[in-house]
């Protein structure tokens, strides 16, 4: 019963989405207020219907109702409660439903929050676009991958969930990532609506900014959680391996980061209007490509769980429709957009333009590297691989250049400035950086590592200098800073911390692997890992082979970790649980390998010593947190248009880290 009502809710939501697309567009075109206002109600209704449908599917999983095919294939009565819930989105149909649910919630949120701050015509047009995206993907869900499909006869028990996916990381990673991906649909809808209106200006940028901030923060969080998850669940010692599925989540992040900064420029300087519109369209298009790649198996990847070309074709058609229409509209309407063009190199605006150029270039490079094997094969039939060595070599220099400018730009005035004004700050920074380079060289014995650490230190020094300059070292002024300022500082410091972590990891990480007997040891970076006796047993829904690994250094005990090889009979699958000893210094871990059953020669054991890896995630979490911090500011200060006061608008501008020159 529940399944049927869920399906009805989806069908109804599909109809509502169609009306939400058509009526407000006509209304906005003819100036009919009633038709435009319909967009709000439709968006709210669509949100409610999808919440119901998603709730119904969750209930089906919780009740282990195996008459519904999806639950039968992806769930099991013996599964822990948390994984019954996360099982809802650990499969193609459920994750698409989650995707659409988030899309509808964003639509409803625009209707709700924008009801007295956004002009009616812009709002209704944006919601119409949002409705069109919803209708496209709802149609895709209903006609090609219905989550509520029944099964007859009803199986006695479900087939379980891929054990690799039974992890708290999974409960978190996809929803966070999807909120990020789908949140950019708002930027897309606003861009299309603005093109229809023929107006892209600072006011538009201010409306858009909180939505981009929300999406960006969630995407950052989602990618970070995914990285942590892959790190400890897969247990290869890699926090980022440039896998295609990782890359396609990184692409909207790069474009989104560029968008976040170009909006800032548009808001402050009324420049980059064309650029911002194109970025808004591209960012969401890259999100759709992300969905498409994971669904279609176009690229071979460790993470793709719903490999099915036909679904890929439908998503490609949707991408073609939405992005194609948006870009065609841009081509037709771009001549109506006006923007300032008096750009000067040494200014905050110049820095932000540089930021955008580098981020977009990086996006192109990651895109190219990810899809290049596909293109080569398409044209020549030759098979090649583009792996981590390529990305490291090409991407890292880009980021280094970006970091160098990132330290300086926030210090500068918005318009014409001179570097000579900042001699004292540079002097102090250079001293600090020199110290840092010397120190890292002594510790790491690596010239390049030391220089990379120097660049990170340069960024941190520059950011601190911006804080000091803004406040003149006065505690009262420091406390009076708006949240957006703290957002900026935290995000940029986060990038510095992140870079330090990556550098330490690149220079210092070591690993070792061998087949050993219980009682034998394996060393790495001066740490000795001794494998204790192996124990067998069974727990919840798997059997395990477990070993304690004692770690010593110079004869002294450091820590002890437990590693497991697990066998899930329901899926006939073996996985490895690495034993971790995370640390702010050197993180140690050991894993007995999967795929290799123990033989008379013992088990395959891998041991790792990775300095600084934790700081990579701390830095990334700082960036995500920074987004939310800025948001607090934005929400408080978004004025209603009729009350808007130019002076206030200016002081609320988060980017005014340094008082504008004008």
């Amino acid at each position: 019963m529940l399944a049927e009502t869920g399906q009805m809710a989806l069908a109804l939501a599909f109809m509502v989405a169609l009306f939400q697309t058509v009526l407000p567009l006509i209304g906005a075109h003819r100036g009919h207020v009633g038709a435009m206002a319909f967009a709000d109600r439709a968006a709210l209704l669509q949100g409610a219907l999808l919440v119901y449908a998603f709730g119904a599917l969750t209930a089906v999983f919780l009740q282990s109702d195996f008459s519904v095919k999806l639950a039968a294939v992806h769930s099991h009565t013996a599964k822990p409660l948390l994984y019954k819930v996360s099982g809802v989105w650990a499969n193609h149909e459920g994750s698409m439903l989650l995707w659409i649910l988030i899309l509808a919630i964003f639509g409803a949120a625009v209707a709700w929050r924008g009801r007295d701050t956004l002009p009616l015509s812009l709002r209704s047009r944006a919601l119409a676009v949002q409705g069109a995206i919803g209708a496209g993907f709802l149609g895709f869900l209903l006609f090609t991958s219905n989550p509520f499909e029944r099964l007859n006869p009803v199986p006695v028990d479900g087939q379980g969930l891929n054990p690799l996916l039974q992890d708290p990381g999974l409960a978190l990673h996809p929803p966070l990532l999807y909120i990020g991906y789908v949140g950019f649909s708002v930027a897309f809808s606003f861009a299309v609506a603005a093109l229809l209106e023929g107006r892209v200006d600072a006011v538009w940028a201010r409306w858009l900014r909180p939505w981009v901030l929300v999406s960006w923060s969630f995407l950052t969080l989602g990618i970070t959680v995914g990285s942590v998850w892959a790190y400890y669940e897969l247990g290869w010692g890699g926090w980022w391996v440039w896998d295609p599925v990782e890359n396609v989540s990184f692409l909207p992040w790069l474009a989104g980061t560029a968008l976040l900064h170009s909006i800032l420029t548009l808001q402050q300087r009324h420049s980059l209007a064309h650029w911002t519109v194109l970025l808004a369209i591209s960012t969401f298009s890259l999100s759709m490509i992300g969905t498409f790649v994971v669904r279609s198996g176009v690229l071979v990847s460790v993470h793709a769980f719903a490999v099915d070309p036909e679904r890929g074709v439908v998503i490609l058609a949707l991408l073609l429709g939405f992005t194609g229409a948006a870009l065609a509209l841009y081509a037709l309407r771009a001549n109506k957009l006006v923007q300032a063009t008096d750009l000067s190199l040494i200014s905050r605006e110049g820095g932000l333009v540089f930021n955008n150029l580098v981020l977009v270039a990086s996006t192109v490079i990651v895109f190219l590297g990810t899809f290049y094997p596909l293109f080569v094969e398409g044209f020549t039939g030759e098979k090649i691989s583009v792996g981590a060595p390529y990305f490291d070599r090409v991407f890292a220099p880009m980021m280094m250049a970006l970091l160098l400018v990132m330290a300086i730009a926030p210090l500068l005035k918005w318009r014409n400035d001179k570097l000579a004004h900042y001699r004292r700050i540079f002097l102090w920074s250079v001293l600090f950086v020199g110290l840092m380079v010397a120190l890292s060289w002594i510790i790491g014995k690596s010239v390049l590592g030391a220089l990379a650490a120097g660049v990170a230190a340069w960024l941190i020094a520059g950011t601190i200098a911006a804080i000091i300059k803004r406040t003149n070292g006065s505690w009262a002024k420091l406390r009076a800073q708006p949240a957006c300022f703290w957002g900026f500082a935290l995000a940029h410091l986060g990038v510095g911390v992140f870079t330090l972590g990556v550098t330490a990891m690149s220079v210092g990480a070591q690993d070792n692997i061998a087949r050993i007997q219980p009682g034998d040891s394996l060393s790495v970076s001066g740490y000795t890992f001794t494998l204790g006796p192996l124990e067998e047993g069974a727990r919840e829904n798997f059997q395990y082979l477990q070993g304690d690994v004692a770690v010593t250094k110079d004869g002294r005990d450091v820590t002890q970790v437990t590693t497991e090889q697990r066998f899930y009979p329901v899926r006939n699958m073996v996985t490895t649980e690495a034993g971790f000893a995370p640390s702010f210094g050197t993180t140690l871990f050991a894993a007995i390998g999967d795929g290799n059953p123990p033989t008379e020669d013992g088990v395959i054991m891998r041991v790792y010593a990775q300095p600084g890896v934790v700081w990579i995630w701390i830095g990334a979490f700082m960036m995500a947190l920074a987004g939310f911090v800025s948001l607090a500011d934005q929400r408080l200060r978004l004025p209603k248009p009729e009350k808007a006061n130019p002076a206030k608008v200016h002081s609320a501008s988060p980017a005014s880290v340094v008082q504008p020159a004008e």
């Binding site: 290869w236 010692g237 391996v241 440039w242 896998d243 295609p244 071979v300 990847s301 460790v302 750009l343 000067s344 190199l345 040494i346 580098v358 270039a361 192109v364 490079i365 190219l368 590297g369 290049y372 293109f375 080569v376 020549t380 030759e382 098979k383 090649i384 691989s385 583009v386 792996g387 981590a388 060595p389 390529y390 490291d392 070599r393 090409v394 890292a396 220099p397 880009m398 980021m399 280094m400 250049a401 160098l404 570097l419 390049l448 590592g449 220089l451 990379a452 660049v455 990556v502 550098t503 690149s506 990480a509 690993d511 692997i513 490895t576 390998g593 999967d594 795929g595 290799n596 395959i604």
Partner: protein, 159 residues
Amino acid sequence: MIRLLLSLFFALAFCLGSATYSVAQTAETAPNASSADVEQTARAVGKQLRCVVCQNQSIEESDAELAADMRRIVRERLREGATEDEVIAMMRDRYGDYVLLNPPVQANTAVLWGTPLLLVLGVGWFIWTLARRRERTAELSSLTEDEQAALAKMKRDLT
């Protein structure tokens, strides 16, 4: 000044980035190389070879049996005195370009390697024109002492 600064940090960024991530210190492997040297080189080699039965893992990262065998063969060859490049070439000979995680520069990777270069040149050109434009406007707006003197002299000569 600005241009010097810019070119300086581009140069810095480039040599930095190109090796920031590479852990490997390439060791020359003599026929009687110590096992620690072999191990270090083997790791560097292994990280550049794709585990052909896995998806996007290098043979150093993979638990697959074939990857373990490939690791062993890499070490054997190194111990026999093969260089890093020779071992990689040998694997490429068997499994094709597919086994190389670092795509070689050749006809079918021209776009792959060329695009980043073009992008960097493009960004560099943009910055250069911007800097030049600004200098020129600066020249137009304010004349140097010499120029003012020359201007005064011209005026005097005219009268």
